[in-house]
């Protein structure tokens, strides 16, 4: 990693420690405060992928990966919010020159966007919005960041529209994870004249999320493991520090090694020529790893790990929610199998 990216890693790490860690409980209970969004904006993080003239930081793939990893290490909710705004909303808006200025309102923190892709994650439909030529009408049942004021949603024909009115968020679902973002159904009733059609290719968009989702997963693993290591140095049982017991020390040493290798791999593929298969492989492995490590970290903390105040249980919940929101496991494994076998595979 070059000097510029090393500096970025350190700057984001310091930002997370100073600005996010102290309000982590507030983020979990009340959502990401506007004050934090403004601070993220001032650093250029909110519009990380947007060009400078639109208030962004114009980060390259490695810079963006580092940003998400470091933020997720402190708060997976904040990292996912940045991912949602950049990888899905800003990228989609930038497909249409006439509405480019909307990016400025997102990167400044004045607007918040969401992009609906839940119907691509499972076999069942999560409601739908019907386009009858005059109106877009219907309910989408699993919208993350549902208190946004910019919605990018598909209609029943798979065409995507940007809406800024005609929506109403319904009661929240119980939230498994990423509690800093609202998660609920949203009802739409919009005059088609008030919607902007965007030339979104959903498959391309979803191919582009492998690396950022991997970065968040590795950030979760890093945050959880760091806390577990610190706790194991302090906490004693049976007259010894936890770190002195082989099963715990070996488990954490193994996790540390895997994390180091995965981070190195992330840096390499983010710097090298674009390789979607490698990005997909990293995502599949990183998400499982984040779940395993966050579970280990919680177990090391014992009963305290089960309490919100210790800031460890959120990693376990968030890793699971990320694995659900991160892609369609079966479709992606079929794709990966077919790549490996160089013909149709894994379809029975």
């Amino acid at each position: 990693m070059d000097e510029e990216h090393r500096v970025l890693e350190s700057v984001v790490g310091e930002f997370a420690t100073k600005e996010i860690e102290p309000i982590n409980k507030q983020i979990e209970l009340e959502g990401i405060p506007i004050d934090l969004k403004k601070k993220l904006s001032a650093q250029g993080f909110l519009g990380a992928l947007a060009p400078y003239e639109l208030g962004g930081a114009s980060l390259d793939r490695l810079g963006y990966s580092i940003l998400l990893k470091q933020l997720a290490s402190a708060s997976p909710s904040v990292a996912f919010y940045i991912f949602l705004q950049n990888s899905l909303v800003i990228k989609s808006i930038l497909l249409e020159d006439d509405i480019r200025e909307k990016v400025m309102s997102i990167s400044s923190g004045n607007s918040s966007g969401t992009f609906y892709y839940s119907n691509k994650l499972n076999f069942l439909d999560y409601g739908g919005v019907v386009n009858d030529g005059r109106m877009l009408r219907g309910t989408l049942n699993a919208v993350i960041n549902s208190d946004a004021n910019i919605f990018i949603i598909p209609d029943n024909n798979g065409r995507f529209y940007l809406l800024e009115n005609g929506y109403s968020a319904l009661d929240e679902h119980e939230k498994l994870g990423l509690r800093g973002l609202r998660f609920s159904p949203v009802r739409f009733e919009v005059d088609i004249g008030n919607a902007v059609e965007l030339p979104v290719n959903i498959d391309e968009i979803l191919d582009d999320i492998h690396l950022p989702i991997s970065s968040i997963a590795l950030g979760i693993a890093q945050g959880a493991l760091n806390k577990a290591i610190e706790y194991a140095k302090e906490r004693s049982a049976f007259l010894h520090k936890l770190k002195d017991f082989q099963p715990l020390a070996f488990g954490m040493a193994q996790a540390y090694s895997q994390l180091d290798i995965l981070k190195e791999y992330m840096v390499n593929i983010a710097q090298g020529e674009r390789d979607i298969n490698k990005e997909l492989m990293l995502k599949i492995v990183s998400i499982d790893f984040a779940r395993e490590v966050s579970k280990l970290a919680l177990q090391v903390h014992g009963g305290y790990g089960y309490l919100m105040d210790f800031g460890i249980e959120k990693y376990y919940r968030d890793a699971m929610f990320l694995s659900i929101l991160g892609g369609n496991h079966i479709d992606e494994k079929i794709k990966l199998s077919s790549t490996i076998f160089q013909e149709k595979a894994g379809w029975i």
Binding site: S118, L121, N122, F123, L124, Y126, N141, A142, H173, E174, K175, L176, S236, A237, F238, L239, F245, P247, L248, R291, K295, L298, Q299, G302, G303, G305, Y306, L307, M308, D309, E313, Y316, R317, M320, F321, S323, I324, N328, H329, I330, K333, G346, I348
Partner: protein
């Protein structure tokens, strides 16, 4: 070898299942979980409708399983009001049983069991609370307890404390005793713990004891035997935690099966079919391990190896099943009770002896059986 339970126990299982499906409505599950409130109304219903029966251990075991299968938070709250009662049954005096145990069994009072401390969880022998004998024969208790189930709603708790210094590092578990402490006594305070990841309907508190005077008649059994009483108790309750865990695992399996029934595209994937096969196998293995350990216990011949194997494996099965079901059902699971099962399940690997402690017990006792001291 007969792998069937008596007919009346299977009948009871059906009755409990119907009760849980009827009374643990989605609204109630969500309300008590979100608000972290103990469901007094549900506890009362469970008692009045004869759901909880402490007089037959197999009846209690399947009841726990079926209640937790539908909702662990409400399920555990329905029967845990008698937590610690086995200690009084086994080691309490007739007077203590009459005064403290019987009102709990009649559903009038709530009891708790206070062993864990802020600096001593798995390491029971590391506790620091002290009971000091006074010239008049009474004891004065000082110290604090952590993660105490029913802590802020109990009428009384059974407390483990030191009644003398440890004779040596190897014998730290000596000189510990148990006493019944009424929560209304001067010097006792409870601080309800909020923000648990799961089983949020159950009550959990930190207790503080400041110069609490305990009359000698409230000492349980013999002075200095407290550690042994607690270990005996764990040999019983670990079976019930295993039953909770089987309930959770079965509940997760139920949900994946339900989705498979409704969605052909889902169930036609062979990877999903194998997942269901693996999950069903593990749930059954956990159940068989637990029933074997329970059978020995209920015949007054407990085997700590089998008990710890059952608790360890069933708890891991609960988290495995909830994680796996949630992973494969995706958003479908995330917006239903499955996400709650996922949050609830993790505590099974921690309380009543973490998985690490169970492995220690298994190793030591297993090697002893193998003739290695």
């Amino acid at each position: 070898m007969d792998f069937t339970l008596p007919e009346e126990i299977e009948e009871k299982r059906k009755k409990v299942r119907e009760f849980a499906l009827r009374e643990f409505t989605e609204e109630r599950k969500r309300y008590y979980d979100e608000n972290e409130k103990y469901p007094f109304d549900i506890r009362k219903m469970a008692y009045e409708q004869g759901i909880v029966n402490f007089s037959n251990p197999w009846d209690l075991l399947v009841t726990i399983e079926e209640l937790c299968r539908v909702d662990p938070g409400l399920g555990i709250s329905s029967f845990v009001y008698a937590f610690g009662s086995e200690i009084l049954m086994l080691f309490g005096s007739d007077e203590q049983k009459k005064k403290y145990l019987e009102p709990v069994q009649r559903g009038e009072k709530i009891m708790g069991f206070a062993v864990t401390e802020p600096v001593a969880g798995s390491d029971v022998a590391g506790i620091a609370s002290k009971m000091e004998r006074q010239p008049d024969g009474s004891y004065v208790l000082n110290g604090s307890k952590m993660f105490i189930t029913n802590g802020s709603i109990a009428d009384y708790v059974l407390v483990l404390a030191r009644t003398g210094p440890p004779p040596s590092e190897e014998k730290r578990h000596h000189n510990m005793s148990m006493a019944i402490v009424e929560m209304k006594w001067p010097g006792v305070s409870a601080n309800k713990l909020r923000g648990k990841m799961g089983v949020r309907a159950t009550d959990t508190a930190e207790l503080v004891f400041e110069n609490v005077r305990i009359p000698p008649e409230n000492i349980i059994g013999e002075i200095g035997k407290g550690f042994y009483y607690v270990m005996t108790f764990f040999n019983i309750t670990r079976i019930y935690v295993a039953a909770m865990s089987i309930g959770i695992a079965q509940g997760a399996l139920d949900m994946i099966v339900e989705k498979a029934k409704k969605d052909r595209r889902f169930s036609s994937q062979e990877s999903i079919q194998f997942t269901i096969a693996e999950m069903a196998t593990r749930v059954d293995a956990a159940r068989l391990l637990t029933y074997r350990a329970a059978s020995l216990l209920f015949q007054f011949n407990p085997d700590p190896v089998f008990t710890s194997m059952a608790k360890y494996f069933a708890a891991e099965t609960a988290t495995y099943a909830a994680e796996t079901a949630l992973k494969v059902t995706g958003l479908d699971g995330a917006v239903t009770s499955l996400e709650r099962l996922f949050r609830d399940s993790k505590i099974m690997e921690i309380w009543e002896g973490s998985s690490e402690i169970e492995k220690l017990v298994i190793y030591r006792m297993f090697m002893k059986k193998m003739g290695v001291e």
